[in-house]
């Protein structure tokens, strides 16, 4: 494996910390009673898009591991791994975007969202349930339904939160241009 740059290492650490804080302490009530919507996947998609698949995978892995760890309900490896897979796929899907150079136009938004939708589907409808069945022999219909629900919610949140964050970040990068004062 190529040596990671210090910046990537720090991005993984801070990305994981953000993932943890958003996943653990930020609760947005969802229409379904007693369930909350997690917005951390919007963040993870952003980290992956800016810092690449390795950063995405590791930030997801570490962040999700810490969430499980802090709840003390045992580390749910199947879902932890699925988060890592999502980060990795997202990083691969957005390889050609240059958000950190300030480019995130319509084409970028489409790539980002198609990428995130596919990555979520693979992670939650394939990886997580299959691992659940392998590890815990859980009933297939239960885990697939959980997976599909999770995927849909995550796709919606990533589409809104992730896209907005990417837009704001790409705009925040100073670009030379002629700014005129208006009267």
């Amino acid at each position: 494996m190529k040596k990671l740059s210090v910046k990537t290492i720090v991005a993984i650490g801070i990305g994981a910390a953000l993932f943890f804080v958003l996943g653990r302490f930020v609760a947005i009530p969802s229409p379904v009673p007693n369930t909350n919507i997690s917005i951390q996947y919007g963040l993870l998609a952003f980290i992956a898009a800016v810092f690449g698949p390795v950063a995405g995978a590791l930030a997801g892995l570490i962040g999700h591991f810490f969430i499980d760890f802090s709840y003390g309900w045992g580390v749910w490896w199947s879902w932890v791994i699925a988060s890592a897979v999502f980060g990795c796929l997202m990083g691969v899907a957005t390889m050609r975007l240059k958000i950190d150079e300030g480019e995130f136009g319509t084409k970028g938004i489409i790539t980002f969202n198609v990428g995130q939708a596919i990555a979520h589907l693979i992670s939650w409808v394939v990886v997580a349930p299959v691992l659940d069945i392998l590890m815990f022999q859980e009933p297939a219909n239960k885990v697939f339904l959980q997976g599909v629900t999770g995927a849909i919610i995550n796709i919606i949140t990533t589409a809104i939160v992730g896209t907005l964050v990417c837009l704001a970040y790409s705009k925040a990068i100073p670009k030379k241009g002629s700014l005129k004062e208006e009267n």
Partner: protein, 275 residues
């Protein structure tokens, strides 16, 4: 100390083990519990796990919050399994013994109840051990331990950084969210889902953008102090292995071996009393 993960500083044989040992044991133990569905082994693991608590001088009171959480989660999952697949036990064990003279899709069968008992046992086989790990492992030692068991030091340090900056980011999130609330951002149920998500972004954008600055400054600070200079690095918090470390690892390794052997003897991961 950083008490996010409920680390409880005490003197005990378990606290005395190195972080690396505990991490290896956690992995071996989880793997053992994961592979098997053999009731007997699960029972052994559950009892052993609980028995370790007094040795680690951790009481129920110390973990009550986390335990409560887990139990709710467990009950929810058990109910879900039954609702979705009341016949799962029959599929697994190959027989169908209706109880209480009932029959039909949702009627209880001995196999289903036994499966669900195993399901619950499986939780009890892993959770006490994880809780114990959480309470007895100093987060500072965590990164050094990862490096010791073969994870590259770069990735290990990412873990350390995450642990270091979680409290800072949490505080920052809280401040930003209060200021946004004053301006009218609401995450409560009154608004529609989409507008709630947009509101969340109003908090997230400043948080993430300032985190990007933070990433830049921290990586400069680390490079200025020679991070990444050598192929290896030493750790201030690393500890040397002692006899008890080796013993613990061997015991956990044996548990994994037992788990695999049992699966082999049973011919499946399940212990089947119905045949």
């Amino acid at each position: 100390m950083n008490n996010l993960f409920n680390y409880i500083e005490k003197e005990s044989p378990i606290h005395g083990l190195t972080g690396a040992t505990k991490l290896v044991c956690l992995l071996l133990w989880s793997l053992a519990a994961m592979t098997t569905y053999d009731t007997r082994l699960l029972l052994v693991l559950a009892v052993l796990g609980i028995a370790l608590f007094p040795i680690g001088r951790i009481g129920v009171k110390d973990v009550s919050f986390m335990l409560w959480f887990t139990l709710v989660f467990l009950v929810l999952n058990t109910v879900l399994v039954y609702l979705f697949s009341p016949q799962h036990g029959t599929e697994v064990y190959g027989t169908c013994t209706y109880l209480f003279g009932l029959s039909g899709h949702f009627a209880p069968t001995a196999e289903q109840l036994f499966f669900q008992l195993n399901y619950i046992l499986k939780y009890f086989a892993t959770i006490p051990f994880v809780l114990l790990f959480v309470c007895t492992t100093n987060p500072s030692e965590f990164a050094a331990s990862l490096n010791k068991i073969g994870v590259s030091y770069s990735v290990s340090y990412s873990v350390a950084l995450a642990l270091r900056y979680i409290p800072d980011i949490q505080k920052q999130y809280h401040e930003i969210s209060q200021a946004s609330q004053a301006r009218g951002v609401e995450l409560s149920k009154k608004a529609s889902l989409v507008s709630r998500l947009k509101s969340a972004s109003a908090i997230l954008v400043p948080l993430i953008l300032s985190s990007m600055d933070r990433i830049e400054i921290i990586s400069n600070a680390m490079e200025l102090r020679c991070f990444g200079k050598n192929k290896k690095r030493t750790w201030y918090m690393a500890q040397k292995f002692k006899a008890l470390d080796y013993v613990s690892m061997i015991v956990c390794a044996l548990l994994l071996v037992a788990s695999i052997t049992l699966t082999h003897i049973n011919g499946s991961r399940f212990y089947n009393p119905f045949k």
